[in-house]
């Protein structure tokens, strides 16, 4: 053992000697000549990876999908009697109807109402064939999340816009962006890569729910986190 160790030490000393030698030999020409280049290349590399990480990667990560039918909230809000509740209503057991079923459209759309191509397609492809529209839900949370509209809308009186933005007043549906890896909607993690949030509806990650809960709900039921217990929002 000891001989091996000694050998090893000799060798490493050998190497050390040689390493120390090199810079003294080349000192003069190296520092002056390529110092600027090293800094330049460093910055080119940095900028390239920033562009890759901040601009190209998000483009690659999300695939863009169009909604099957472009729905115009603004037109319909003038036509219905009950406001948002005509289409997005609560059932008696407190569950939320969510995205409307064809049954809520059929009363008016048995026949084509306006002149738009969009509506003609809707009536032909879905109403007449009695086929449900496969809407893409921007706010869809992962399977393990339990979200309840009734507690937020009825009990806590929170406005739809606080979480959904101005979809209710919009004239068309935006492009749906799906994360290619997780299959989740981009609205969960938000558009802004730096994590900066301008509006309360820019994203709806776990921390965004928790942030409002800490402010508005105030319940420290979890032994682990001293915030809401996991079994408030998870199932």
């Amino acid at each position: 053992m000891s001989t091996l160790d000694d050998q090893a030490k000799e060798v490493s000393e050998d190497v050390a000697d040689r390493v120390v030698e090199t810079p003294t030999q080349k000192e003069g020409n190296q520092v002056d000549g390529s110092g600027g280049f090293i800094i330049l290349f460093f910055f080119i590399g940095l900028i390239a990876s920033l562009i890759l990480g901040w601009i190209i990667y998000p483009k690659l990560l999300y695939s863009q999908k169009k909604q099957p039918i472009d729905f115009n909230h603004a037109i319909h809000m003038d036509l219905v009697d009950d406001g948002c509740e005509s289409c997005h209503f609560f059932r008696e057991d407190g569950s939320y109807s969510g995205v409307p079923k064809l049954a809520q459209c059929i009363d008016c759309h048995e026949e084509v109402q306006g002149e738009t191509e969009n509506e003609a397609v809707f009536v032909q492809e879905y109403v007449q064939k009695q086929k449900e529209v496969p809407w893409l839900v921007y706010s869809r949370q992962p399977d393990c999340v339990f979200f309840s509209h009734v507690v937020h809308v009825k009990t806590a009186q929170i406005d739809c816009t606080q979480c959904h933005g101005h979809i209710g007043e919009s004239t068309n549906l935006k492009i749906y962006e799906e994360n290619r890896i997780t299959g989740y909607s981009r609205d969960i993690w938000g558009k802004n890569m730096s994590g900066y949030k301008k509006n309360s509806w820019d994203r709806m990650k776990m921390d965004d729910c928790a942030e409002c809960h800490a402010k508005e709900k105030g319940m420290e039921s979890s032994v682990q986190t001293k915030k809401d217990a996991c079994f408030v929002c998870h199932k």
């Binding site: 609560f90 008696e92 057991d93 407190g94 569950s95 992962p142 399977d143 393990c144 339990f146 309840s148 009734v150 507690v151 009825k154 009990t155 508005e216 709900k217 105030g218 319940m219 420290e220 039921s221 979890s222 032994v223 682990q224 986190t225 217990a229 996991c230 079994f231 408030v232 998870h234 199932k235």
Partner: protein, 263 residues
Amino acid sequence: MKQEKAKKYGMVIDLDKCTGCGSCMVACMAENNVPFREDESDKLLSIAWMRVYKLTNGKPFPDTDICYLPRPCMHCEGHHGHSPCVSVCPATATDYSEETGIVSQIYTRCFGCRYCMAACPYHVRLFNWWDPVWPDGMEKSLSPNVSVRMRGVVEKCSFCFHRYQLTMDKAHMEGRRELEEDEYQTACTQACPAGAITFGDLNNPKHTVYRMVKPDHKQGGKPKNPKAFRLLERLGTNPKVYYLTSREWVRSMDDNYLKNESK
């Protein structure tokens, strides 16, 4: 913001009523999307949140007696919510809620180290060795209220917590925050044809579970009813599942006693 008192949901199982029929196990599997295998005979690899054990007094024929013991998760409170599994989890995947007294398991957070399984003295935690495989068409009958699990995570009984969430929705719809006793009941409780399982809030003197066992909350929830016991009481896990029996030999099996030690 919330004013109501903290709950402590618990279960009382009357062993003198249990016939060992297994309805609770079946109801639980169906309710909670519990995966199963083609060959369920190896109990170390198969998963059942509720499992019925068979106990015998070991005596020959005329004196033979059998007792069936259904075993869900005990939802141990330990000391201040530090149940054995919660305190060892390195991922914060399992948690104790002071609001309901329920020990949760978040499957997406769990990375499958199985430390909790080693820590649990009741073997209620089970590991998914494979991704669940549902027979053709069965995935359509899975419940959307319970998230399905994947390979490599631990799962266990949740006291059907999703039923609590759904009844709370109904309560909010009707403008109240308090649930009636019969509104939130677990699947096994409702499935038991003998009525051996009772479920409710152990903090609420009006609830049947409270009246059945009379938990002494100053003594870590020890039952004041002499017919009631909890499994491995002396470990101090402070479980929320109580058993009732009038049979002495069954009660003497509630803990690991030495030969010459009396209860």
